[in-house]
Amino acid sequence: MANIISDETIEYVGILAKLELSDEEKEQAKHDIGRMLDYVDKLNELDTSGVEPLSHVFPVNNVFREDVVTNGNEREKILANAPEKKDGAFKVPKTVE
């Protein structure tokens, strides 16, 4: 494998991805990402100098509208999906002391 992913990199990517991987999963991820990057390196065969990156196939523009509420109050329906709720709000672990 040409691309060797270090332990530090996997730690860092885990933080970015907000995933907690077991030691076994980390080893697997190092292997998987390395192998995929080896494959993706094929793109380096292509000369893309002067080629603009294409995010969207068609020219798209931001769609603006007046900031007017058009939907109704669906608080109860939305909160029904909450894993935990309290006093009409989503309940989360304490974030500030």
């Binding site: 860092y12 995929m36 993706v40 292509l46 196939v57 068609f58 935990e84 989360v92 672990p93």
Partner: protein, 524 residues
């Protein structure tokens, strides 16, 4: 012929002419699901009660003149990543195991306006990541043609449900081939529209710049009628296109005289199964006989589509799936210390292996230091791939290609080597990168009785060309027969297997084989 054997448009006509009631049609589908889905696992949720209540409502609407369209009263199965108000939408993931949307996707609203009745939600690869429907948290879907094989993916449940006549038609989504490849494996017709044709509002996002909702049905006519119904300009999707000509059924004409058809010779080389290649040539011959001009050409850049796709799709997925954090909906870990640990644990326990793999890869290619080398490089490659299609469509109206290099692989043979699985998407993925429309049409079965579909690709906004070519081919092929399903029920220690109303007793059928299917032949 039973009601469940009919196409969506045939059912719509019967309902309109009062030969059958909406309730009878919906009940026939629900009975069929009850009879066969135990062995197929095409559905995650079946909403029998809701469907029957809606059937009566639609019947009244048809009688009062509220619903006049060709699909009024016809039931539909919906892939479980398309939001349905009040009906669970799981993306076949543990992290959304109990999620009930408070709104419906725009495509669903369009169907409801046309008098559709939703039967339930279909199984898929988790968050549409996979090509076999084996990454579902609710177990794999089996191919109705042979239960030892996968239905393809990620819209495997939708395709299997249509193939098994559980639903006359279904909605799927296609990010890298997720409608066209399983349609090919299951012997049904699946169409991915031009990017922006169907609103993505309410489609749970995977790779937003590539995702499109599209129809899966028994033939091209149904696909055209469904696409005509679900296509709409929607302000809620900023990539939605205000298209003028969406009267897709007007292209259902048996006439391809002078149609220019190109077959990429670089699609026919190494890795392509001989029987699939023969199927492509069979379609070429039919179109040629009908007056089309068919020739091979070099598309180029074929081998760069898959690496570019996996960088772009994974990058977008890592961003899109950041919203699943155990706060507002879905799964939350039981034990955690503080907010960040709750996020991490909920996500790590809630997502499956393939989803985590793509989130990790996506996070990596977007991270500083690698963004230019991988993500921007992939977007530049995407631009080149688009240019090579632009050049091809200066010469051709339709590109004829395989949908997949092989027929459906066996269950359990794909996930151990993800890269190998990704390579199976070679003929479908570039179509998403270039935003093009494509349709997979069943052609024949292979030596093992598994269906082979062939793909017709059009230029942007030119769905009508592929619909016309597909329809003309279909007229020559004839009606495609559904697989003969064999359902087995245990009684008195022996298994009684029923095949197409002929009673046969099979000995020593393993307990886990609930259903086997024998190959059906095309009807000429």
């Amino acid at each position: 012929m039973q009601l469940t054997d009919l196409t969506a448009l045939e059912l719509g006509r019967k309902i309109k002419e009062k030969e059958v009631s909406v309730r009878e049609v919906v009940q026939a589908s629900l009975d069929r699901i009850a009879q066969t889905d135990g062995g197929i696992n095409g559905f995650v949720t079946v909403d029998a009660e809701g469907a029957l209540a809606r059937a009566d409502e639609v019947q009244k609407g048809i009688e009062s003149g509220q619903y006049t369209g060709a699909l009024a009263g016809v039931p539909v199965a919906v892939k479980d990543n398309i939001c349905t108000e009040g009906l669970k939408t799981t993306c076949s993931s543990k992290i959304l195991y109990n999620f009930v949307p408070t709104y419906s996707a725009e495509a669903i609203l369009n169907l409801r306006k046309a008098g559709a009745v939703i039967l339930g939600k279909t199984n898929m690869d988790e968050f549409a990541m996979g090509s076999t429907t084996e990454t579902s948290a609710f177990g794999p879907t089996k191919n109705p043609w042979n239960s030892e094989h996968v239905p393809g993916g990620s819209s495997g449940g939708s395709c299997a449900a249509v193939a098994a006549c559980e639903a006359p038609y279904a909605l799927g989504s296609d990010t890298g081939g997720s409608i066209r490849q399983p349609a090919s494996f299951c012997g049904v017709t699946g169409l991915k529209p031009t990017y922006g044709t169907v609103s993505r509002y309410g489609l749970v996002a995977y790779g937003s710049s590539l995702d499109q909702i599209g129809p899966i049905a028994k033939d091209v006519s149904d696909c055209a009628a469904v696409l005509e119904t679900i296509a709409s300009y929607d302000k809620k999707d900023s990539t939605s296109l205000d298209r003028r000509e969406t009267d897709f059924t007007s292209a259902l004409v048996d006439d391809v005289k002078g149609l220019r058809v190109g077959i990429p010779s670089d699609y026919l080389g190494e890795g392509l199964d001989d029987e699939v290649r023969a199927a492509v040539m069979k379609v070429a011959d039919v179109l040629r006989e009908k007056g089309a001009v068919v020739e091979e050409f070099d598309l180029s850049l074929v081998e760069y589509a898959i690496p570019a796709y996996y960088v772009i799709a994974s990058a977008e997925a890592s961003s899109n799936l950041a919203r699943f954090d155990g706060v507002k909906y879905g799964y939350r870990a039981k034990d955690y210390e503080g907010l960040h640990n709750m996020y991490k644990k909920s996500r790590s326990e809630g997502f499956g292996e393939e989803v985590k793999r793509r989130i990790m890869l996506g996070s990596f290619v977007l991270s500083s230091g690698y963004y230019d080398a991988y993500y921007l490089k992939a977007l530049r490659t995407k631009a080149l791939i688009k240019q090579s299609f632009d050049r091809a469509f200066e010469k051709y109206d339709v590109i004829l290609a395989p949908a997949s290099p092989t027929t459906a692989p066996k269950l359990g043979s794909s996930l151990s080597d993800p890269l190998k699985m990704y390579l199976g998407d070679i003929y479908t993925i570039s179509v998403n990168l270039a935003g093009l429309p494509g349709v997979s049409v069943p052609v024949c079965t292979d030596h093992a009785g598994l269906p082979i579909g062939v793909q017709l690709i059009g230029d942007c906004f030119k769905e009508k060309n592929i619909i016309r070519a597909g329809y003309a081919y279909e007229q020559a092929r004839g009606r495609w027969a559904a697989p003969e399903l064999v359902t087995c029920e245990k009684s008195n220690g022996a298994k009684a297997c029923v095949r197409s109303n002929v009673h046969e007793i099979h000995e020593a059928v393993p307990d886990d084989v609930l259903m086997v299917a024998s190959a059906a032949k095309e009807v000429g």
